[in-house]
């Protein structure tokens, strides 16, 4: 099969892909001028991530001086591609800044103040690649930070680190987008370096054939590469007809080999690897000259420029510097679109500070005459009349008009059925639409929505799995626990029923445990009763009378209660309850005293009670101080307790007085009756 493909190619016969368009090429603006070397810009803005994948770890800090070619980030993962200092200078800042992205996204960028010396770091030049092992070459490619320079920016070292049995290595020099001539000029000027790069790829991949595809509108590039490859049998320069989007990976594979890349698969699955010519050049620079990817050819074009041309731009060069170099015509007079990439698939950038990155091949500044639709502020969209011109030009053979309806209706199931995911965003459908419907824009929105939905679904699915796993685990644990308990219970029962020495032992153990618990309780009670004793004993010494003893006992009991209450207070802090309680207690005391109707005794009792009350307040204070360590945390509590104790004492005093009065009046009555 491979042979028949080569036969066809040598005869100059190619397959065709469905659809395609022929927009005005406008390549003459820049194709006849050599690539210009620019002066160094004052500042470079280097985004950490310039490719598909993730950003590397920062290796530099603000204020650090870096040399040309010095790595600024470190790759710790195959999907990470490092970035390098494009020239020597000082890192002035590392912050979020607007990057080359359709959304005008901000991303972490390194700001490099150029010192103008352009001093290189130490380089390891290696002219004989035969000395290097494949592994070493791939390492060099990875360290040089090379990512696909045709547009997608896929890390190159992954693409070249493939399995054997590669039928075709296709070098893409089609450059089908209108206006862009960066690859064209590179092929004209650096054909030998490109071929050297291709040889390195040949060593790595060892393909059966190498096909260099160039559209027939680049005769000079074709000639240059044909001359550079005459001695190599394996390499075929394929001159393919000019049609947009020939340069699309899938389309070019179809043109050259007649094969289609199965949906959802990569060309490598069909034994095909494709590399851009600029990537080949960068590989040669990296492997032979140890020059990391720090510059690229950028076509700065459009009729709004006085001097459209191709330039060697350092990565990180802000757009406004490039536009100055190409003499832009009064850009301020109105909303001027500046497009990064070609007119078909490029995106308009939001700021003049957007830097050139590894994938930027063109800066297009069209005039209103040449591209009026780029200036239109409102969409001129009218209803679709199903003319079907879009499906006639679709290279993926989709039905753009039906996709459009489903996209507007957010019918994701239908979009999937219509294979929206196979849309390559080439823009051919929107280009021909007579109703001026921005079809690609609708698809982009729909694709983003579907992606978001998928992520949500994935998340939900994961959460569901997690939840179910947890439920299962809990269920298992519960069963296990029940099982364990059951077993233990059964063992206990069995042991008890056996009436063996162990069983009685177990029984006695239970009894002993119960006894222990009881003993503990008793000792606790004792301890509680013991605490107030020393205080309560004092008044008994001064009282000789039985009654006074009784009252003293009562007072003691009161004191105890108070003490307890105080303890309660300290816990609950409810002064209301306490005060009422103490009153109740005072009331309780009164009736017990009434039967002891003796003047003197009553007086004595009253005096004792007073003394008790005084003592009580004192003891309350002392107990407070005793317990202070516990209450240290909150002094307020202590003071409030103090007050309460005083109040209680006052109340007790008042009660005692009342009783005294009652007692005297009672005595008087008694006397009268006598």
């Amino acid at each position: 099969m491979v042979e028949s493909v080569i036969e066809r190619i040598t005869r100059g016969h190619f397959w065709d892909f469905h659809g395609g368009i022929h927009p005005p090429e406008q390549k003459f603006l820049t194709s006849n001028k050599p690539i210009k070397q620019l002066a160094l810009p004052k500042q470079l803005i280097i985004p950490l991530q310039q490719h598909i994948g993730r950003e590397g770890d920062l290796l530099v800090t603000i204020g650090e001086h870096v040399l040309k070619g010095q790595a600024l980030t470190l790759s710790t993962n195959p999907m990470v591609v490092p970035v390098h200092a494009p020239t020597s200078g000082t890192i002035s800042d590392i912050k979020m800044s607007v990057i080359a992205h359709p959304s005008g996204l901000n991303q972490l960028c390194i700001f490099l103040d150029v010192d103008g010396e352009d001093a290189w770091r130490k380089r390891n030049v290696c002219y004989d690649i035969e000395q290097l092992s494949n592994h070493e070459i791939i390492e060099k490619i990875a360290d040089a930070g090379i990512a696909g320079m045709g547009g997608a920016g896929f890390p190159t070292h992954i693409k070249v680190n493939s399995k054997p049995d590669i039928n075709f290595l296709i070098i893409n020099g089609a450059e089908c987008e209108p206006y862009i001539t960066a690859d064209d000029l590179l092929m004209m000027e650096q054909s030998n370096a490109i071929v050297d790069g291709i040889k390195i790829l040949d060593k790595l991949l060892n393909p059966a054939f190498i096909l260099i595809a160039i559209e027939d509108n680049k005769p000079k590039a074709i000639k240059a590469l044909q001359q550079a490859t005459t001695s190599i049998e394996k390499i075929k320069v394929c001159v393919v007809p000019t049609k947009y989007p020939t340069g699309g990976e899938k389309q070019l594979i179809q043109i050259l080999t007649g094969q289609e890349v199965t949906s959802g698969q990569l060309p490598i699955h069909a034994g095909i690897v494709m590399q851009n010519v600029a990537t080949c050049f960068a590989i040669n620079e990296a492997v032979r000259h140890d020059i990391p990817l720090i510059r690229r050819v950028v076509t700065v074009t459009g009729q709004a420029l006085n001097k459209p041309q191709n330039v060697w731009a350092l990565l990180g060069t802000p757009i406004n510097f490039l536009l100055e170099q190409c003499s832009v015509q009064n850009i301020e007079n109105e909303k001027q679109p500046v497009i990064m990439g070609g007119p078909m698939m490029g995106f308009s950038v939001s700021s003049e500070l957007v830097p050139i990155v590894k994938t930027s091949n063109c800066i297009l500044v069209p005039s209103k005459v040449e591209m009026p639709s780029a200036f239109e502020k409102e969409s001129k969209e009218v209803e679709c009349i199903r003319c079907g011109q879009c499906s006639d030009v679709c290279p993926s053979q989709l039905l753009p008009q039906e996709l459009q309806w489903s996209a507007k209706a957010k019918d994701h199931a239908q979009l999937k059925k219509l294979n929206l995911s196979d849309c390559i965003d080439c823009g051919a459908c929107a280009y021909v639409c007579p109703s001026q419907i921005p079809l690609v824009h609708y698809y982009r929105i729909a694709k983003a929505e579907i992606r978001e939905q998928q992520q949500l679904d994935l998340k939900a699915e994961k959460a569901k799995i997690r939840f179910e796993a947890r439920k299962l685990r809990l269920e298992k644990e519960k069963i296990a626990r029940q099982e364990k308990h059951k077993k233990a219970a059964a063992a206990r029962k069995a042991a008890m029923n056996k009436a063996t020495p162990e069983a009685t032992g177990a029984k006695s153990a239970v009894a002993a445990a119960l006894a222990r618990v009881k003993a503990k309780k008793a000792s606790k009670d004792q301890a509680q009763t013991n605490v107030p004793d020393p205080q309560g004993d004092l008044p008994t010494d001064s009282a000789d009378d039985q009654k006074s003893q009784v009252s003293a006992a009562i007072a003691r009991a009161k004191a105890k209660k108070k003490l307890k209450e105080e303890a309660v207070n300290k816990l609950s802090l409810d002064s209301g309850i306490v005060s009422t309680k103490s009153e109740v207690e005072a009331d309780k005391v009164a009736p017990t005293e009434q039967p002891t109707v003796d003047d003197k005794k009553a007086k004595i009792a009253a005096a004792i009670a007073k003394a008790k009350a005084k003592k009580l307040s004192k003891s309350a204070e002392s107990s407070n101080t005793v317990q202070a360590p516990e209450n240290m945390v909150s002094e307020k509590i202590a003071s409030s307790d103090d007050k309460k104790a005083k109040i209680a004492a006052a109340v007790a005093k008042a009660k005692a007085k009342k009783k005294l009065k009652e007692a005297t009046s009672f005595a008087n009555n008694d006397q009268d009756s006598v």
């Binding site: 500046v338 639709s373 209803e383 199903r386 499906s391 053979q397």
Partner: protein
């Protein structure tokens, strides 16, 4: 400095729907001129009436629907519909025929279904069929070619006939249609149908002067004019070639089979091609993208189906011509045909939709 943001692609080939509509209208010119040459001013007057009605109706409905009037009124779609209705009508039909037909086409068939791009049926053909079913008498007032008409049908005479039913001299439409021998003349298709119904052979029938020297006097040139216009549209890529070509082939095959089987009772293939509304239907009505199939395979199927239906209606249906009915039936089946003729997407296996 902020730049103007737009979505890609930033370039456009500058085609516009109104331009497309205008191009189609220009392409009808050869046929319309032939019609004027052979049948007089009648159709031109009807075209004018229909266009005026269409603009008024479109304006009214668009303002009721609060649509951008300047944007949509002159997009050419309503005018094209009116033009096609005017071409289809019998030249001497009364004025309200074209007014009612256009009103129905624009207000009900087009706008009530959602306007341009949303109508399931071709407005011109639906309007025509409504007229044909509702006013069969007026819709059969086909006038023979001017060379066969005794009355001088100049512009004034035609205008007064359309407006009042009588010429300036007082001849009624019936009298205009009556030949010198006292027979009412009909279209060639109608004549053939009536005659074969009476047991006459085709050879005997075509001796009738309405057939002329070739297939159908006047009609053949009108059809040739529309064929020319249609080829121009195909060359301009304004219409897809699949539909008209498959339609004509289908009609050719059907008529060829029956003609070879029984030449006595069947008209020739070229008679089918160059009489009635064959070419108009093939290049100007079946190719209406809104109501047709969108995939190439679907377009071919629609064309083949329409050819078969036209033939069946012409030979065994109740009406002499069947283009309008055939097209409406195809409009109905187009979405289904589209559903089953989706092209295979790049990278997918056949049948893997």
């Amino acid at each position: 400095m902020a730049f103007w943001i737009a979505s890609s692609p930033h370039n456009h080939n500058h085609t516009k729907t109104p331009n497309l509509m205008r191009l189609v209208m220009y392409a009808t010119l050869p046929g319309v001129i032939a019609q004027w040459y052979f049948f007089g001013w009648g159709n031109l007057i009807h075209i004018g009436l229909a266009m005026a009605t269409a603009l008024i109706c479109e304006f009214t409905v668009l303002s009721l629907r609060k649509k951008p009037i300047s944007h949509e009124l002159f997009d050419g779609s309503a005018l094209l519909t009116a033009l096609l209705i005017g071409i289809c009508l019998p030249a001497l039909a009364p004025w309200w025929i074209s007014v009612i037909g256009t009103m129905f086409a624009i207000v009900i068939v087009k706008q009530l279904y959602g306007g341009l791009g949303h109508n399931p049926f071709n407005p011109a053909m639906a309007g025509y069929v409504v007229l044909l079913v509702s006013f069969p008498l007026q819709m059969t007032l086909w006038q023979p070619p001017l060379t066969l008409v005794a009355v001088d049908l100049n512009f004034t005479n035609t205008l007064t006939t359309i407006l009042t039913g009588f010429t300036v001299e007082g001849y009624s439409v019936e009298q205009v249609r009556t030949s010198i021998d006292g027979f009412t003349m009909a279209t060639p298709l109608d004549t053939l149908k009536t005659n074969t119904g009476l047991g006459l052979t085709v050879l005997e029938s075509i001796k009738n002067p309405v057939f002329g020297d070739n297939f159908a006097l006047g009609w053949e040139w009108v059809n040739a004019g529309f064929l020319l216009g249609g080829l121009f549209l195909i060359a301009k890529k304004a219409i897809a070639w699949q539909t008209p070509i498959s339609f004509l082939i289908s009609l050719f095959i059907c008529s060829f089979i029956s003609y070879s089987l029984s030449p006595d009772s069947s008209a020739s293939t070229m008679f089918h091609w160059f009489s009635g509304a064959t070419m108009l239907g093939a290049f100007f009505i079946l190719t209406d993208p809104v109501t047709g199939a969108t995939s190439n395979k679907g377009r071919i199927i629609v064309g083949l189906l329409a050819g078969l239906l036209v033939y069946l209606i012409r030979t065994s249906g109740g009406f002499p011509d069947g283009v309008a009915f055939a097209i409406l039936l195809c409009n109905m089946s187009a979405p289904l045909i589209d559903q089953y003729t989706r092209p295979r997407t790049y990278g997918h296996l056949k049948g893997d939709k």
